[in-house]
Assembly symmetry: C2
Homo-oligomer: 198 residues x 2
DNA sequence: TGCCACATGACAGCCACTGCCACATGACAC
DNA sequence: GTGTCATGTGGCAGTGGCTGTCATGTGGCA
């Protein structure tokens, strides 16, 4: 990697960090792009070359975690049983939470206080879920049914949501491993009451 | 209902219609609020009193359909079995599709061409799903587990998504009843491969 | 060292959205 | 009908997110 790319990567990270700090300190809505750019020591035009929207500055942190989870899934060989591959996803999430607990708590506080950010988060989860469904379909040989893949992906996303939600609402005190274990156990004890076909 | 409220309701509808027509004719991004306000014969300031954001002008149509579906669920007595209540939701969606086929197709074309609208739609589905999970939890006496409610709501939302997706991607030619029947049948033939608890 | 590609940042401008205020118009009492 | 009040309406100025464009500066490479 050349000196140029390295500097850009550093700048990219610094911008996100600066934005994050400002959001925590004075809230998302009350922070302007100009302030972030000033704190990150770049022009506003440059900032927009790194992050397309203000929302992206917040969402990028969650995106990084979800990207890692997707990579963990793709790292599993296609021959491995699907539940095992999905377990790798959950494992990646556990690891992400463990490695960024403080930041995650602050992050979810920002999301909580800023209703306008919910859409961006929902969209991110939606895209990720869609992507996972595609990959599941590919693993199954491309001949599997779409609904099965969609439901499986949705369930996985749901586990992640519930785990993160439980963990954060507890203030991050509980052990993530305990929460996921309990959540996954619940998954096996209950069945979804699907409505009957007309 | 007084003369005043009636006029406001008419205005409200007329604004959404005008916006919809413009979006179809020249695209979402290329339509300004001023144009919509002019077409609806109101001031821009007034328009914002009816719809908080430009996005809301599009999303409101989907929202109406989801609202009806939620009402159909709530109309079921608490004593009715859950699958039956959920079936009422699907039924409501079927009905909505049948009664607004032309508009729905145009609507989803707008969503397709405008990537920026995806977030609003995802957020809407997210809120609805969350609400449904709450109501399921309430039906079960409030003592049920959160994950079960969340998964059930997610599955229901998934069925709706898949049905609508299948129907629209077919150009609205197929019979909605056939699609839902096949979708619900699939739900019973496959089980989700939940990962094992750690 | 000179050239090129490209990252940067300043400036002007668009447009979604908001606060504020004057005005008009239903609703209601008399 | 008429006065009065509550409330819907719309204009105007302003904020801030975001974009196109262009001159400038800097790393990369011959």
């Amino acid at each position: 990697m050349g000196l140029r790319e390295a500097k850009m990567e550093r700048t990219r990270r610094f911008i996100a960090e600066s934005a994050f700090d400002l959001f925590v300190a004075q809230g998302y809505d009350d922070t302007t792009i100009e302030q972030i750019a000033a704190a990150a020591e770049v022009g506003t035009r440059t900032l927009y070359r790194y992050y397309a929207t203000k929302e992206a500055l917040v969402v990028s942190f969650v995106q990084n975690g979800l990207d890692a989870a997707m990579e963990a899934f793709l790292a599993q060989p296609d021959e491995a049983p699907l539940p095992e591959a999905l377990h790798a996803v959950i494992g990646s999430v556990e690891q992400t939470i463990g490695a960024n607990s403080a930041r995650l708590l602050a992050l979810y506080e920002i999301f909580d206080k800023t209703t306008g950010l919910r859409a961006g988060l929902a969209d991110l989860c939606w895209s990720w879920r869609r992507r996972l469904a595609q990959e599941i379909l590919r693993r199954e040989g491309g001949t599997g049914d779409v609904l099965f893949a969609a439901l499986t992906a949705a369930s996985t996303m749901n586990v992640i949501e519930v785990v993160v939600q439980t963990w954060t609402s507890d203030g991050g005190r509980a052990d993530v491993a305990d929460i996921t274990r309990e959540t996954l156990e619940l998954l096996h004890t209950k069945t979804i009451p699907f409505p009957a076909a007309g």
